[in-house]
Symmetry: C2
DNA sequence: TACTCACTGTGCGCTGACGAACATAGCGTT
DNA sequence: AACGCTATGTTCGTCAGCGCACAGTGAGTA
C-alpha cells in the first residue's frame, strides 16, 4: 500500500557506521504510523523503540483532568522510546503520532542488547537523549515566559523542521492540545500569522508561506534547542577511552 | 572547618555494591557547596560530576532577558552533571547551589571511564537521568497548567524532601527566581500558606509546620515525580544480557 | 542610638489567557 | 439540494499574574 522508505532517512540510523548498520538492518521492522496512533501510554511497558523516517511523534504529559502538554517532538532526527535503554522501561508520558508517516522499529530487548555493546549506537542514543532533555527544559521555560504567539511559532518551526514539505495537516484544536492552551487562543494567534502572510491554513491544512517571517517572530527557545541538536548530533566524538580493565 | 559527611549519604553512591564503591571512594573529592555557587554555566564544559550529600542544587534555564526558571532540583538522591556521561559535555542550563551543604565530586574523565565499565554505576546514572527527565517534563506541565499557589507547594515539598531539617533558608526573591515568577506573587502565595498555618517564615527562613497540609494543596505533579524517582531508583534490575559478542 | 539595607507586605492598573456561548463556513453524504 | 459534522471565527466577562510604586519591618552595623 505504501512504498517502503529507506531506514537511513532516520538520522540516527544514518549516522551509524556501515558495519553497525548492516548488523542492525535485518532487525528493523517497517511500520506505518497513522495520525493519532499511540506508541506509548503512561506507565505501560514499551515493546519497541521507533525510528521515524518521515513521521512526527509528540511526547505528551497528560494530567488527571485530561489537560495535556507536549513536552517534546520527535521526527526523523531521533527515536521514540528512550526509557527502554535508559533502564526504566516505562515513562509517565504518552507518545502520539502527530504527523502520519513511516518508521522502523526495534524490539526492546534487541535495543538493550545493542545499547550494551557500548558502540556507536549507544553514543548516538545517549547524545540524542541529552538533546531531548534540552528540548524539554526549553519547553518548560517557554511555557512560563513566552506568549502564545511565540509558542505557536516555535511549534510550527519545530514541526516544519521534521517535515519534507511545507504543509502540515493539523487542526487548531489539536495544536491547542499540544501546546496545552485553548483552541480559541490558537485561532487567534494563527489568525495573526495568517493576516501577516506567514502561513495559510484551511480546515486542518497549514501551509507555511514565509519561514523567515516565522523565525523573526519566534522566541529564542527555538534556536537554543535547534543549536543544541546540531551540536550534539553532528559532532563526531573522538575514540573514547573506555577505561575497561 | 566543617566535619566531613559520609559519601554514602548520597543515594547513588550508597546504592553501589561495596566493591564498586570502594574502587570509587579514593577518587571522590569532598567539596563544600556554598549558597549561590555555580556548578555549571550555560555552554561551559563541566569539569566534575557532583554527588550532593546534604546540599541542594537547582538546574536553571536562563533566558536572554535574564528571566530564569528552575527545571529540576537535585539533592542527595542524585547527581549534577549528567552531560558529562551523556556525551555532550555541556548543557544550556545552569546549576546553582540552592541550599548550602556538602558534596563529593568526581573528575569528568573518571566519570566517563566508570560509566563505560557498563557496571552498576552506569545503570544508576542512566536510571537517575530518566527520573530527572520526568521531573523536567512535569515541571513543564506544571508551569502551563497550575497556579502559583500549587507550584509553590510543589517547590517547598521538593526542597523539603532533600533537606535533613524542616527549615529552609531561602528568600521569597530567590524562590521567585526559581519558579520564574514575580517576587510579589511569592509573597502572596506564601502569605496564604502562612495564614493557613502550614509554614512560618521570617526573613529568609522558612519553616514547614504542616507537611500533610502542603501535600493536600499541591498539584499532582509532585506525587508523579516522586513516585517515578522511587520506582526508578529503588528497583534492583535483574542481571542483564549484555549482548556482547 | 541611629542608620542602612535586605526582606516582606500592599495597592494600583494592565494584559494575556481562560471558559462559555454562539456564529459562520466548508466538505461529505444522502 | 438539504443535511450534518467538523473546523474556524468572534464576543464577553473573569481572573491570575505582571510591572510598578511605595510602605513597613527586622537584623546588622557604626
Amino acid at each position: 500500500m505504501t512504498q517502503q522508505s529507506d531506514p537511513r532517512q532516520n538520522s540516527m540510523l544514518a549516522a551509524l557506521p556501515l558495519d553497525e548498520y548492516q548488523r542492525l538492518a535485518p532487525l528493523l521492522e517497517p511500520v506505518e504510523l497513522k495520525l493519532g496512533a499511540s506508541l506509548a501510554e503512561s506507565g505501560e511497558t514499551m515493546r519497541y523503540v521507533y525510528f521515524p523516517t518521515d513521521a512526527i511523534v509528540s511526547l505528551l504529559c497528560v494530567m488527571e483532568d485530561g489537560d495535556s502538554t507536549e513536552i517534546a517532538v520527535v521526527g526523523a532526527e531521533g527515536v521514540v522510546g528512550i526509557s527502554l535503554f535508559m533502564g526504566g522501561e516505562t515513562t509517565p508520558s504518552r507518545a502520539i503520532v502527530q504527523s502520519a508517516g513511516s518508521a522502523y522499529r526495534l524490539r526492546g530487548p534487541l535495543v538493550k542488547a545493542e545499547f550494551y555493546r557500548a558502540g556507536p549506537l549507544q553514543d548516538l542514543l545517549l547524545r540524542y537523549t541529552q538533546a531531548l532533555i534540552t528540548q524539554m527544559a526549553q519547553t518548560a521555560v517557554c511555557n512560563r515566559h513566552h506568549s502564545l504567539d511565540q509558542q505557536l511559532c516555535r511549534w510550527l518551526l519545530l514541526s516544519l523542521d521534521r517535515l519534507p514539505t511545507n504543509e502540515l495537516r493539523m487542526t487548531q484544536e489539536l495544536i491547542a492540545n499540544m501546546l496545552g492552551v485553548r483552541r480559541e487562543g490558537v485561532t487567534e494567534s494563527a489568525g495573526k500569522l495568517q493576516r501577516a502572510g506567514l502561513i495559510a491554513y484551511h480546515r486542518g491544512r497549514i501551509t507555511i508561506l514565509d519561514r523567515p517571517g516565522l523565525e523573526a517572530r519566534v522566541c529564542e527557545c527555538y534556536a537554543i534547542v535547534k543549536k543544541e541538536y546540531d551540536r550534539l548530533m553532528t559532532y563526531r566524538r573522538p575514540p573514547r577511552d573506555r577505561g575497561i580493565g
